[in-house]
Symmetry: C3
């Protein structure tokens, strides 16, 4: 569409969704209200015909079963249809040397929205600029952005605490490389009075540049901590993440830090508040023990996953101008 990093500015219809930067606090509020409506449709009002007759094309240049499944389910919960193109680089046209721009211009002829996953940062912006008729939604572009993931994290916090300002949060894991960590910090920096404790091994701290750029907004307070003992007892949420093996040069460097911070019942008993919620973007590989799964404040398995679908339903409905 015309201007892919154009702010939403209260008007979702026809917009590309490429970056969290497009969303003002007001835009987030509109989206979250819509999301509540979607939750009600998914739970009580199926079959919905809100997207009946609409076609959403998913083009996934790299596999991501979760994001893929979530978007497909979002479309179908609302009675829409999908065209699913997986791994087009091994499909003939792309392998014959076709540009991303031409591929997008072909597929937009068949549908009303394109959902694009691509391994290269910036690819979805390029795609949105190429598309002349339909909006493009970024479903993750490498080390770039994955805006619907960030929005579902914000929504999950909002759903439980009823606010997005004056929050106290703990983020644990890899501050240096974690895309979801960076997105969450950026999302919360849009609101006033939030204070985040960043728990990580020294090797995986936020870079100095990232730290100062986040702090500059003046809206956010960041506190780096190195031990579970420094977790404040009154946090609204804990956001645990996997240390990503693929970021390390050697197995031993990875082994050294991978499960430095494990979320288990003991830690909850010692440091969590009564209403602290426990989040994780998944997949997990040991940094949250299964014993935590049954805790009513553990939202990582079901609430976050479902919220991801509801947020995507809301976004599709808004972009397609479905006001119901």
């Amino acid at each position: 569409m015309v201007s892919p990093i154009e702010p939403i500015n209260g008007k979702y219809k026809g917009k590309d969704i490429i970056s969290l930067d497009q969303f003002s606090p007001k835009d987030i509020s509109i989206l979250f209200k819509k999301t509540v409506g979607m939750l009600l449709i998914a739970k009580n009002a199926r079959p919905s015909d809100l997207l009946k007759g609409n076609i959403v094309t998913l083009i996934f240049y790299e596999p991501s079963s979760r994001t893929f499944g979530s978007f497909v389910a979002a479309v179908k919960q609302l009675g829409g249809s999908t065209v699913e193109i997986l791994d087009p680089e091994h499909f003939s046209s792309v392998s014959k040397g076709e540009s991303l721009e031409d591929t997008i211009r072909v597929f937009e002829a068949y549908c009303d929205v394109i959902v694009l996953r691509h391994p290269k940062k910036g690819a979805t912006l390029k795609a949105a600029q190429a598309a002349g008729f339909v909006p493009v939604i970024n479903a993750g572009d490498g080390i770039g952005e994955h805006p619907t993931q960030a929005l579902l994290d914000l929504y999950t916090i909002y759903e439980r605490t009823k606010k997005l300002d004056n929050l106290i949060g703990v983020l644990a894991g890899d501050m240096l490389n974690g895309r979801t960590i960076h997105s969450l910090i950026r999302g919360l920096s849009k609101f006033n009075g939030n204070k985040l404790y960043l728990l990580s091994p020294k090797e995986l701290r936020l870079s100095r540049e990232d730290l100062s750029s986040h702090m500059e907004s003046g809206k956010l307070e960041l506190v780096e901590i190195e031990s579970e003992k420094d977790i404040p007892k009154n946090a609204d949420f804990w956001y645990w993440t996997r240390v990503q093996k693929e970021r390390f040069k050697s197995e031993s460097a990875y082994e050294k830090v991978k499960n430095r911070f494990v979320l288990d019942n003991k830690l909850i008993k010692e440091r969590a508040g009564k209403n602290t919620i426990f989040m994780h973007p998944l997949p997990r590989v040991g940094e949250i023990l299964p014993e935590v799964d049954k805790n009513p404040n553990a939202v990582y398995l079901r609430s976050e996953i479902r919220n991801g679908m509801y947020i995507r339903m809301a976004l599709l409905a808004l972009i397609l101008g479905k006001s119901k």
Copy 2:
């Protein structure tokens, strides 16, 4: 769901379908009545909206185009929607080390039923135990079970003979390893007075343990034969199977037995009765000649395939509590 190998016991709604053992003769009768209704819908009453608004997620850890296509078609014949996840082990979350349990808990958030194909015996039971909200249907778990395949074989016999007891059947091929053979024997052992002739090379006979365990029920009579000459002339059905190459250590061992018993028009003329039906779970690779395909009693290509879809339609409708 709560108790995955819980017997159906007349109540299908919300049940996991993991094993043929869950089905009593009464349960099979309920299912077969429903199946007749499904056949009528597929033939005369489309579009059906019975599953409109329902989402069925198919997760196939190994490819099986036939079972996959049959389940997808079953859902769509009834107006439902699918989320299709193929080969998730090469999808990012699983390849990053996620457990089967977490994967299932993620995908159940998006749908009403999960249909799971997995190469490991017992995986679908594990999955059903992990799922907290939606039922899981076993679409084949390695050398374990494939209950809908067994049920469609029983239904095909029932459709033609109007009974599941006091039958005379011939099973040919690999008694030792054939999963469909074992399932059919187990299915028929639920009913009284059935007598099965097992035609196989010596090397591929039923194991002594299997033989005695089947006989113990006291309901079933098994007769091992080694030559076509011993086929009784009044059999209700012949169930031919492929000798599976992948079971043999050497090419020559396989070649020795692969087409020992070939179903052709000559054999039919010599040993089949007027109403004997000819079954095969497919694929075939030479053990039934194409000349047999036009025989009105050859049910392996069309009736069995269609019955597979009808049985799956019926099972989905029952599990989702659709009483129409």
Copy 3:
């Protein structure tokens, strides 16, 4: 179905669509009228329920994201459902040695039409002969045919010029091997008074046999040219094609001819008429410069792609006997 290369002869319902040879000028006219109706549905009358309750099975033995996406979108634009089987040779049944005929007979049990893509010439005819109950549509069989591609090219010319006879056209690229070139020539030879200029390097000229067989009909005039200077100024359309790298033995032989003829604004200014339209079957790899994309007569990106979907919608509707 019964007779797979049976001419359409005004009666589409239930017919296999294997070859352009099945279509008379009258059949093409019926199809194009229907196509206009489909365009109106796609643009203004969604959701359409024309194919509601119908199931179309797509079996793609080789990847082709464009044709696949176009057919899937065509089905869904009309409210139908799909069963999508990609790469069945790596799916178990086929890899276990099943014949194409058995595979088709299995999948036809689940659906109302089969759309088949196969790398081997003649495979779709074989499939149509095997299918006993549902029609088969050829979505490309190797160096054989791809009738819906040819029809969408004809339709695009018709849409702009309102005729299919007395046309002047320029075809550029690989006359020797290009399947779309051959199809377009065959398509236009059904009508009177067409004159085609074939612009290609000497090495890639039409074979003498092909040339004389096309000329024999007496309806078509073919003129071989070697330089852009010989392009007539009053052409109705230019049909540019990619020189296919995979046809050449050596990289250097390919490099020598690959972009001999490049369609750019300069060439348009020098040789095109005011209403000449610019076509290309895509993908392109340099033989049309992006600067041409915005020319209102450049129909290769959007019109041709959309027309492909409309033609497939029309064909599906006609074959399934939907007269609306």
